[in-house]
């Protein structure tokens, strides 16, 4: 957890906004003011302690001891469970699956989101209504998203099966969520459906902030259509796009609800992402030290995957 500290501000370009005005007031502060400021910041410190420091200590403790859900920290076990977990292919497979899933889903959402944002900004009218409708998936609770896509993928009369039938497909019904090769793709489609609107919105906001004069100058120089987009527009919103990709990556690592409701990790282990594996270990097998080790490994994987994106985002924004 602590390793992530440095990456926070790169998440959004807002940090490079105006410098806090307070910094140029060298007036001596009264002691009461300082205390009032500390009071204001104290809830933030409390949050960091409860959500960051405490879970970290708890998990490191649990990973080094014999621990069950009901009875953590029984006796010192050292690295025994860590060795066991690292050697287990279930865990390494799940971590690799989770990382691949996150990168894939984030990339897909970002590409689709950028295309939609560009299209939306090119509309002459109807943009407001279209934007409102495009935001609906984002507002839908993930459990409902999971229900929707279970219905769509239902091999017995679901939307997908019906549409395939309508275009003349007559083979065996495609059971997306119960076939090991397709189930994760099914979850990814639902995930992409839900979060692409956020990427679209962030990029769209970036496009609205573009300097019109630059665009007009480029247009006068003969850059039009896709050329204008590729050589002028996209480079100027690259920072926003990367930041959106970063946010999307973080969100994709969090996927749990969709898996829990759509596939429960199956068939076999084909959709067991790390969050779901931790859930199984801790709350179905009550094996807390195993869950704790997987959690630490997941934290490392998330950090290793997201930090380069965060650094790149920061670099592009400069």
């Amino acid at each position: 957890m602590a390793t992530d500290l440095a990456t926070g501000p790169a998440a959004g370009p807002a940090v490079s906004g105006p410098v806090p005005a307070g910094q140029r007031v060298p007036r001596p502060r009264r002691r009461a003011q300082t205390w009032q400021h500390r009071l204001m910041v104290s809830p933030l410190i409390l949050t960091v302690l409860v959500l960051g420091a405490y879970p970290l200590v708890f998990i490191v403790g649990a990973s080094l001891t014999e621990s069950t859900l009901g009875n953590p920290f029984q006796e010192w076990a050292g690295l025994a469970s860590a060795r066991e977990v690292v050697a287990s292919s279930d865990v390494t497979d799940a971590l690799a699956r989770g990382a691949g899933y996150a990168v894939g889903v984030a990339a897909l959402s970002t590409v689709l989101g950028v295309v939609l944002a560009l299209a939306l900004s090119g509309l002459r009218r109807g943009g407001g209504l279209a934007r409102g409708l495009l935001l609906l998936p984002l507002m839908t609770p993930p459990v409902v998203v999971a229900i929707v896509w279970r219905l769509v993928f239902n091999p017995a009369g679901g939307l997908l099966a019906t549409l395939l039938g309508a275009v003349g497909y007559e083979g065996q019904a495609v059971a997306v969520l119960s076939s090991p090769g397709l189930a994760l793709l099914g979850v990814a489609i639902a995930d992409t459906w839900q979060w692409t609107p956020l990427v679209m919105l962030l990029v769209y906001a970036g496009l609205l902030g573009l300097d019109r004069e630059v665009l007009e100058a480029a247009a006068l120089d003969g850059a039009h259509g896709l050329r204008l987009v590729r050589h002028v527009v996209l480079p100027s919103v690259a920072g926003v796009v990367l930041a959106a990709f970063f946010v999307r990556l973080v969100l994709a690592f969090k996927v749990y609800d969709l898996v829990a409701v759509m596939t429960a990790g199956g068939p076999g282990q084909s959709t067991t992402v790390p969050s779901y594996l931790i859930h199984q270990a801790a709350l179905q097998q009550f094996d807390l030290d195993r869950a704790a080790v997987i959690t630490l490994l997941l934290a490392v994987v998330v950090t290793v995957v997201t930090v380069p994106v965060a650094l790149l985002t920061r670099k592009v924004e400069r």
Binding site: D4, L5, G8, P9, P13, A14, V15, S16, G17, P20, A21, G22, Q33, Q36, H37, P43, L44, T47, V48, L51, G52, Y54, P55, F58, L69, P72, A119, S121, G122, L123, R131, L134, L135, M139, P141, V143, V144, I147, V148, W149, R150, L151, A161, T162, A205, R212, L215, A218, G222, G225, L228, D257, A260, V261, S275, I278, H279, A282, L298, V302
Partner: protein
């Protein structure tokens, strides 16, 4: 620049003069620029319509299934001929659905108010004084970067010690805390836009930080509080992972937990489940469409300078 453009005749199509480089050049600007040409541009509307269809059709299908009987569902009917509103009755009457929706609303709104109350002073201090500065902001955001499953067992243990499991109060407190980093992040982006001179002037007049916060910043931040409040409310309303561990008895179950249990029943009645899901998302859809502007403001607060 704009005035120059308006006095000048539309520029001759430079496409003709340019040697052919790469793929055939499109003359349609995808973005609207001053030098646009009066030609029908189809690409953008087509893409948007396609996107809207993909976004809306699955939800319409959910609505459609909520009015179907089992036979129609299996037969691959897309729009039921005989509307079975009884599914909606079955979903609501004699079940804990309304209780679950109410629980979700209470935990989400309570949690959002708590997040805002704690986030506003902190975000203001961060955006103005540099108290702890960026390091603190980054530190506050860091728990958000990891999947929430990481904190579930420690939080569950903590709440058990405090006697707050299976209670809406416990869940509300957790939501207030868990969404606080998001609220701080979005709010400080808003607060940066309030000119520093305003609160400096108040301080010169003798107002202390708390006074400045309540009399100056709070009124100015009103709209952004609504925007950020909406987002954290929606986050709380949708939350499943924590709710499924912290609220297991029927009295404190939230909507996502209720829906997941319906799916787990031995014979899953899809019509009824779809109807329950529709009942659960109606409030959200109404909010999304009526308060769209505020939502968009909040969602993009961190992204635009």
């Amino acid at each position: 620049m704009t005035s120059t453009l308006s006095t000048r005749p539309a520029p001759a199509p430079p496409v003709l003069a340019r040697p052919a480089v790469g793929p055939p050049v499109r003359t349609r600007p995808v973005l609207r620029t001053g030098a646009r040409r009066r030609r029908p541009r189809l690409l953008a509307p087509v893409v948007v319509v396609l996107g809207v269809v993909l976004a809306v059709v699955p939800l319409l299908y959910l609505f459609s299934v909520s009015l179907m009987g089992r036979n129609e569902l299996v037969a691959g009917v897309l729009v039921p001929s005989d509307l079975r509103w009884s599914n909606w009755g079955d979903a609501v009457v004699g079940t804990t659905l309304t209780q679950a929706v109410l629980n979700s609303v209470l935990a989400a709104v309570g949690g959002a108010l708590l997040s805002l109350a704690l986030a506003l002073p902190g975000a203001w201090a961060l955006s103005r004084r540099g108290t702890g500065g960026r390091t603190l902001l980054a530190t506050v955001m860091s728990p958000w970067l990891l999947p929430p499953i990481v904190a579930v067992v420690p939080l569950l243990t903590l709440l058990r010690i405090l006697g707050l499991t299976n209670s809406l109060l416990g869940l509300t407190l957790v939501y207030g805390l868990v969404n606080l980093p998001v609220a701080v992040w979005l709010l400080q982006a808003f607060l940066h836009r309030i000119p520093g001179e305003i609160d400096e002037a108040a301080q010169l007049d003798g107002a202390g930080p708390l006074r400045v916060l309540t009399s100056i910043v709070l009124p100015l931040a009103g709209p952004s509080l609504v925007a950020v409040g909406l987002i954290v409310t929606l986050l709380g309303y949708s939350e499943f992972l924590l709710a499924s561990f912290l609220t297991q008895d029927a009295a404190s179950q939230t909507l996502p937990v209720h829906l997941s249990l319906l799916l787990g029943e031995r014979v899953a009645e899809y019509g009824k489940i779809a109807a329950a899901a529709m009942v659960g998302i109606l409030p959200v859809l109404v909010i999304a469409l009526t308060l769209q502007r505020r939502l968009v403001e909040g969602l993009t607060a961190g992204a635009v300078k």
